[in-house]
């Protein structure tokens, strides 16, 4: 319990640091969203409209600390204001509409990568020198060395455009109405294949290699030798004794990767025109949409912190050694 409380304290501190950072960052840069918009629309906003724009977006001239206090209040009450680039949609609406897709894409690919990667790692370490152990790691590392947007574009062109096996864009077919029918779920899964594969391909090597290396270390532990001496079946030794212990560092790494879920799919989302917050963050940044940017960053950070906290709780279940202390 003490451990969990301690972690909670840490996450609160981390949360405060990140919301403060979130506040400071946009205010450190030159230019304001209105100038940015003027530049972006190149001539279709008239100079005389600029003042009105400023007014309506509430570009703020109050002293920093005052803005900070107000900002803290707003963040705590969940009010993130209006998106500037999508005025007058509230930031919360913009995010709420998209975050689900990002989580779907990120979580699916993460889980697939972790599951397959770890399994391969376990098997490779268990049968040293086999195909899995000697051929697969370099191959996966090589694939993982490609910039993931590059790989995503390659997949899109190969399997989407050239071969036409998979849809080129979006999370589900145009014109379908989202519901929980089998058809729709199938459609969503079908659209998920390429984007998820591109992420899985890039990340699976790291998982496999990590698991393999930990597992090799674990295999040399006395308790594995003891389990063998006990005459247990190899399958049981591999899963219950070796993999169960070797998994622990992966769990921590999994927590860390949750951060990647939300932010990391950014380029994938852009390449596959997949809905999600990643792309929105990019466009918010391009439009200097502070409120949206802050909202997104805050959402992402909060999600990551909460997810990590959950991982910590799970970790406590998985590793009895941290329960006391």
């Amino acid at each position: 319990m003490g451990y969990i409380l301690r972690r909670l304290g840490f996450y609160l501190a981390a949360f405060w640091v990140s919301i403060t950072l979130n506040f400071m960052l946009p205010r450190l840069m030159p230019g304001d969203p209105v100038s940015r918009m003027v530049a972006r629309l190149q001539g279709s906003i008239r100079p005389e409209q600029i003042e009105a724009l400023r007014r309506s977006f509430g570009v703020d001239d109050a002293p920093l600390w005052e803005q900070y206090v107000r900002y803290l209040g707003q963040m705590l009450s969940g009010d993130m204001g209006f998106s500037i680039s999508r005025f007058p949609t509230p930031v919360t609406d913009v995010i709420a509409g998209q975050v689900g897709w990002t989580v779907l894409l990120g979580l699916t690919s993460l889980i697939i990568a972790v599951a397959i990667g770890n399994l391969l790692g376990i098997l490779a370490a268990w049968r040293r020198g086999g195909v899995l152990d000697s051929v697969l790691p370099p191959v996966l590392i090589f694939i993982g060395s490609f910039p993931y947007f590059w790989l995503a574009m390659g997949l899109l062109w190969l399997f989407g455009v050239t071969l036409g096996w998979f849809p080129l864009r979006h999370a589900f077919s145009m014109g379908t109405v989202p519901d929980f029918s089998l058809d729709f779920v199938g459609d969503v899964a079908y659209h998920l294949v390429l984007p998820a594969t591109s992420i899985v391909l890039v990340s699976i090597g790291g998982w496999m290699l990590g698991m393999r290396n930990t597992m090799i270390a674990t295999n040399a532990e006395d308790y594995i030798v003891m389990a063998e001496a006990k005459g247990l079946r190899p399958g049981r030794i591999m899963m219950r004794y070796a993999a169960r212990n070797a998994m622990l560092p992966s769990v921590t790494a999994f927590g860390m990767s949750l951060g990647f879920i939300v932010g990391g799919a950014l380029l994938t989302e852009v390449v596959f025109a997949y809905p999600g917050v990643g792309y929105q963050l990019l466009s918010a940044v391009q439009n200097l949409d502070y409120p949206l940017m802050q909202g997104l960053f805050l959402t992402i950070t909060t999600a990551v912190l909460i997810a990590n906290f959950l991982v910590d709780i799970v970790y406590v279940r998985l590793d009895p050694r941290v329960r006391v202390s």
């Binding site: 030159p30 100079p47 014109g175 025109a273």
Partner: protein, 533 residues
């Protein structure tokens, strides 16, 4: 289920005449349901299919089409305009269009988006007549006012905070107002049951798709998943047309804003018109257009006017002017005269002995203009002048422009139905702010009292002849002063396929530009016909 529906890949059987016109929106990865015509930025098709204006000006051929208004009169002294509305127009909820709608729309526009500062008073004279009074003579107002979207007063008066209204179920006079099947990445607009030109609603409806960037939209276009491709497509012949030459075409009329190379005239030696001209002369505009802009536009001339203003262009000025044609020797001579001489290392030095080297500022996001900068830098290197292409974030670039803290840079010009706004933006002393003070136009800070007088005369002139002669004088003044170096008119991107819809505007039939965001798009929507069978 398998495959993406709604594109040009439909077999003949799918072309039953009810196919939806599929349009991409390349800069919105996802849609939020926001059909507020007064919000920034415009939501796709809001100003084109849902809300309409009193008249439509087509820059491609310079014609003006009466739309919600049938006719109008400009006050003889230029201090007002009166529009007469069509009496058969109904809002999509069945209410009739009245003059009060116009009054309320302008109130909202001025309150939310600003502008129209010259309007003093708007009066609904009767149900179909609305009168605008100005504080001073302002002839360009006619088209300016006429192109404002009109929203229904009976709806918008009810909203507590119109600025923050997302207007999810829009009520408009346009041809396609019924929003259906709204998803984060697509939505459909179906026919307005009350449309005033039912004959023109030949297509079933419009489907808008969201794309997180040009790449996705281009891919969709190349793949034939959309009917209309209004975004920038690199190497369009190969990337788009070649894949279905029978149906696909593009047309990039030079009707966008003029793209200028501006010099900070508060800094020496850019305060010298001859230096500006010399630099301009060193630029190979053909190459700029060919390489920087992929040949999608053509070089500018000394009037600085885009293709929208062809009817205003004074051919005398164009033919007598030299500084927009590449002439390295001429440029060298001008620089020598200005005391910027060639050093022994082949680089020019200013009279004070420092090397003539300066920045070309450009927003990094505008990759085409960065390329333009690269070509310019290459061109000027031949003259012994070093230009550094400083590609930075647009916000930073613009804030440098606004405060007058830059050497030179690429900039767009004001675009409006008449060249008045353009010349005002580059030459009027009213728009000049001292360096350090924030300017929203005329970043190069050039002002000429002569131009002021001409601009005033133009604003006050209500007859075409006077306007033309004043405009010719303004053009000559521009050619003489070279306040900025016009590079090329911005093309208005547009490409389309006749595979599923016919009746697109083309270079030969320029009844509208091929842009989805221009006012003229409604002309296309009411012209297109679905291909059947």
């Amino acid at each position: 289920l398998v495959g993406c529906s709604g594109g040009g890949k439909d077999t003949a059987a799918d072309l039953d005449g009810t196919q939806l016109l599929t349009i991409p929106r390349e800069d919105m990865g996802t849609f939020d349901r926001n059909f507020n015509p007064f919000s920034n930025p415009d939501f796709p098709m809001t100003q084109q299919a849902i809300y309409e204006s009193m008249l439509i000006f087509n820059p491609a051929d310079g014609t003006t089409t009466p739309w919600l208004a049938t006719e109008w009169e400009v006050a003889p002294d230029g201090t007002g305009v009166t529009y007469h509305l069509r009496d058969d127009v109904k809002w999509s909820d069945g209410e009739p269009l009245v003059a009060d709608d116009v009054v309320v729309s302008f109130d909202l526009q001025r309150q939310i988006r600003g502008g129209f500062d010259y309007i003093e008073k708007i009066t609904a004279v009767d149900d179909t007549t609305v009168q605008f009074d100005f504080s001073e003579p302002f002839s360009p107002a006619l088209l300016d006012i006429g192109q404002q979207s009109i929203a229904p007063a009976h709806i918008w008066r009810e909203f507590d905070d119109p600025a923050k209204e997302t207007n999810p179920e829009p009520v408009g006079t346009g041809p396609y107002t019924e929003v259906t099947n709204f998803q984060a990445q697509s939505f459909d607009l179906l026919r307005n049951p009350e449309y005033w030109q039912p004959d023109a609603q030949r297509i079933e409806g419009i489907r808008v798709l969201a794309f997180a960037g040009n790449d996705g939209a281009n891919l969709a276009a190349a793949n034939g998943d959309v009917d209309w491709a209004p975004q920038f497509i690199p190497n369009i012949e190969k990337a788009y047309v070649e894949k279905d030459p029978e149906h696909r075409f593009y047309w990039f009329p030079p009707t966008g804003s003029m793209v200028n190379w501006q010099f900070n005239t508060t800094k020496a030696p850019f305060d010298d018109a001859n230096v500006r001209k010399a630099l301009s002369m060193a630029v190979d505009r053909e190459q700029v257009a060919e390489i920087g802009m992929q040949g999608y536009t053509k070089p500018a001339d000394c009037t600085g006017l885009t293709g929208s203003y062809d009817s205003w262009r004074d051919e005398d000025v164009v033919s007598s002017c030299t500084w927009t044609k590449r002439d390295l020797d001429g440029a060298a001579k001008l620089l020598d005269e200005a005391g910027i001489t060639l050093g022994s290392d082949g680089k020019r030095v200013l009279p004070d002995g420092t090397p003539f080297e300066f920045d070309y500022s450009v927003g990094a996001a505008s990759s085409d203009w960065v390329s333009v900068g690269n070509v310019i830098a290459q061109n000027l290197a031949e003259l012994g002048v070093t230009v550094n292409v400083a590609a930075r974030d647009w916000a930073e670039v613009v804030s440098g422009y606004e405060s007058g803290d830059f050497d030179s840079g690429v900039v767009w010009s004001n675009s409006a139905p008449t060249p008045y706004q353009f010349y005002r933006g580059v030459m009027s002393t009213e728009t000049v702010k001292p360096a350090g003070e924030q300017a929203f136009e005329n970043y190069h800070r050039f002002g000429s009292p002569e131009a002021d007088a001409l601009l005033d005369r133009f604003a006050a002139a209500s007859d075409q002849a006077t306007q033309t002669s004043v405009m010719n004088e303004l053009e000559a003044l521009f050619a003489a002063e070279a306040p900025v170096a016009p590079l090329f008119p911005g093309p208005e991107w547009g490409a389309a396929s006749t595979a599923r819809f016919t009746g697109w505007p083309t270079e030969d039939d320029p009844y509208a530009t091929l842009s989805t965001r221009a006012r003229t798009a409604v002309l296309i929507l009411t012209t297109l016909e679905p291909v059947k069978g």
